[in-house]
Amino acid sequence: MMLEAVNPAKSGAYALRGFLFGLLLVVLSLLSVRLGRYFSAEFTLIPLAAIFLWPRHASLPSSPIYIFSIGLLVDITSGGPLGLWALTYLIMFGAFRPDLQAHDAGLWSTWMRFGLWLLLSHAIILVLAVLFVDGRTAFLPMISQIIMAALLFPIVFYLYLGVETLVRDPDETG
């Protein structure tokens, strides 16, 4: 995909916007809602949406650093194996380059693509966990968290569109 040229300062600002949105989702991922005694909704996987919705035209040199930082922060807050999410986010970013995609295809199509992202990222997590992680992996919370992240995605998507509208460069909109 050919991208029109964007000046470095502007593309750096786009990457920073992606990072700040990622931080917001990391905070949101700390939320856990208990419904009744035995059901607890966790949103640990929602920061993946920040990588999926990484701003178009974001600076390539700084984007991987920001994505790595978000992943490391998720690793720290989740208490899981250090580097696992950082590695997964970077692989997903490198493989699918969300910074080259436009995220204006409408909710349904974007939602479906995010669902695929969730499954693919978990395939990577599972492979890494089975091969290298000491201790056991609980699959049930993993599945429930995939579902919770998928359910929360429309809110995150509209939040992203809202942020984008607020900070959009007037030159782009005309």
Partner: protein
């Protein structure tokens, strides 16, 4: 001009690829070093958690507030029923408290007469801390506390909520500590029944009800038994309330945890120094020599323990 712009674009792309490659290598190194229990990385992680802990304390405030609103809404619908239940329980517990006080006095007198080591049992000293992050992920069910070595918290210490045992400390930073919950897949603690004194290992399985395992033949476990820590593992103090045994299901004995009722907020960390084995705590040679000399000079008859038949 266009050529210059193209060169810049190519240079930025190359820089981007190099940055991406470096980040990827760094992530791989961190991941594998973490698996190898690298000490430097472990310290770095503790440092990162230390840094994150005060920030998370503030960030989690609105989240905890939101969670409490939801929880309050749920509780408000049952407030009348709950009030009646609490009144009944209060009258029952007032009687039990009076009996417990009498027993404490009696026990204290007996301990003094028998010269029992009073340090054994539930430690009286406890450290208050606040849970800033609860994590119930696929790899770990843990809680991050906003207190660490700065409040003398050490690895292995038991962590309690007002309801019962929550877990034990697995990692300590200067201002933070990570607690492995009883429900975690990797959690194993030795427990016993208050009624029968039977022992077992309570194994976490990431469900809200851990199961009893390694139950010896002839052990007497029944639904409704109060489960407490036995202290046999030498890590946790004995006597901490854990939960109630439920009916056997699919050949397994699940435990209904006291601490699994709501979000964790304030907790108590119990400092505990386990009884060391003779190998870990050898006798000081000088002291032994002195004891031998005293024994040699002592003319009182030696009483030898006779083997039981």
């Amino acid at each position: 001009m266009a050529r210059l712009g193209g060169q810049n674009h190519r240079r930025r792309r190359l820089m981007g690829q190099i940055t991406f490659g470096l980040c990827l290598v760094l992530a791989v190194i961190i991941f594998f070093a973490g698996q190898a229990d690298d000490e430097v990385l472990s310290d770095t992680r503790a440092l990162a958690e230390d840094t994150a802990s005060p920030v998370m304390t503030y960030l989690s405030m609105p989240l905890r507030g939101f969670e409490n609103v939801l929880s309050d809404l749920r509780e408000r619908t049952e407030v009348h029923k709950e009030n009646q239940r609490l009144q009944a329980e209060l009258s029952r517990l007032t009687d039990i408290e009076a009996r417990a006080n009498a027993l404490t006095i009696k026990l204290s007198r007996l301990e003094t007469i028998l010269n029992v080591d009073k340090a054994y049992g539930i430690p009286e000293q406890k450290i208050a801390a606040r849970a800033v992050i609860e994590s119930n992920g696929p790899f770990v069910r843990s809680v991050l506390l906003n207190a660490g070595a700065n409040k003398d918290i050490q690895k292995g210490y038991a962590v309690m909520t007002v309801d019962g045992l929550l877990g034990h400390v697995v990692r300590v930073g200067n201002r933070s500590a990570r607690v492995l919950r009883l429900e975690d897949l990797n959690s194993r603690i030795s427990v016993m029944s208050v009624r029968s004194q039977s022992r077992a290992i309570m194994t976490g399985d990431n469900s809200s009800r851990p199961k009893l395992s390694f139950i010896t033949e002839g052990s007497d476990w029944a639904a409704g038994d109060l489960v407490i820590t036995s202290g046999d593992d030498g890590i946790l103090p004995p006597g901490l309330p854990v939960g109630t045994l439920l009916e056997e299901a699919d050949g397994q004995l699940p435990v209904d945890l006291y601490s699994d009722d709501h979000h964790v907020d304030w907790v108590w960390v119990y400092p505990y120094n386990p009884v060391l084995s003779p190998e870990e705590d050898p006798v000081n040679e000088d002291v032994t020599q002195e004891a031998v000399e005293v024994a040699e000079n002592d003319e009182s008859p030696t009483i030898l323990a006779e083997p039981n038949e």
